[in-house]
Amino acid sequence: MVGDKPIYVQIAEWLENEILCGNIKENEKIYSQYQLAEMFNINPATAAKGINILADQGILYKKRGLGMFLSAKAKEKIQYQRKNHTLKKLVEEVVSEAQRLGVCEDELMGMLRDARKELDEHEGEGG
């Protein structure tokens, strides 16, 4: 699905992930539209659109003439947003697909638990 999203949404999500994993700290300057344009080989206007998505959500704030900075509690904001929108939507999709296939609730919960276990094991191996 990733490739189907507009580039500026992908840029916003990439920045979110950088923030979530702690690569950008609160009150730190984030990449400029020109840096992003060069990194992702895209037009700077498109990169600016991605930055503006986060600015509109209050995750970034602007310092006149200096650029965009990461707001306080930005990480929490993103986590909240992702949980209540992205994750919720994904779960809804999973549930409706399960319904279409006649998978009962217990079976579905079992599948979720298995998936989680597998992921934990992988992480254990990795670490």
Binding site: I7, F40, N41, I42, N43, A45, T46, R100
Partner: protein
Amino acid sequence: MSVISCTGLTKNFRRVKAVNGLSFTIEENRITGLIGPNGAGKTTLLKIIAGFLRVSSGQVMVFAEDPFNSLKVSSNMIFIDENMKFAPSFSLSEIMLAASSFYKNWDMELAKGLFDYFSLDPKQQHHNLSKGMRSTFNMIIGLAARCPLTIFDEPTSGMDAGVRKDFYRALLRDYLQNPRNIIFSSHLLSEVEDVLEDILLLQNGQKRLHLPSSDLKGFAVALRDKTEIISDLTAGQEVYYQKSVGKDHSYVVIRRDAADGLAKRISAAGVEVLPVKSDDLCVYLTTRNRGGIDDVFDRN
């Protein structure tokens, strides 16, 4: 500030209207992609903007002047296409030297850097280059000239995939350092769309779309399901493309905002919603037959 503006622009070649009542404006320091099928009027439009052709009717303004016979436009503009001719006795390095005295913003360091990177031979002559090499050299001239208005008409014809990729990257990086007005026409939208700020789509000499490149990707979606469900859903909607799939299924392309309006009904019916690639969309938008080439084969 708009750098180029056209109102009711028309250009006739005998009885053919190559450009037909075209109106649009291009704002300062943008990279605009001119897209459209063969014969849509792309080259004619670019030549009018460059001041090579006089309009039949309507108005065109470039840097606030009529470009035809305008010294201001010609001294601030470079037009790159595959028919570029240079003095036949000059070697490639001599052409670059001549260009450096002709174009006031010429960047010899960039020109030489690109020249070496693409392994061109300084002693070679322009008319002896292969098609791809000639396009590469012309591209170097176009970038290094750093003209406030840089026009590329099908600059990548004959270039291999690797060189094309390098060219888009070079264009973007040079633009980031030296923002200027760049227009270029191309048939390979999927390769260039990310580098473009705006897209101007032409069809039969008329404007079909003019919008930010980043908006084109989400402009339309495809719906796929049983034909009766699809035709019921899309009744009264503008359909850009449709084809039948298998025995009783249909694939239909409509505007995304139309699909958003039908979102509840679409998800209730479990209809598949698929993304539409921008170059496919441009083809759908500019072909007369809603079924495309399949219409030729599926006539009964």
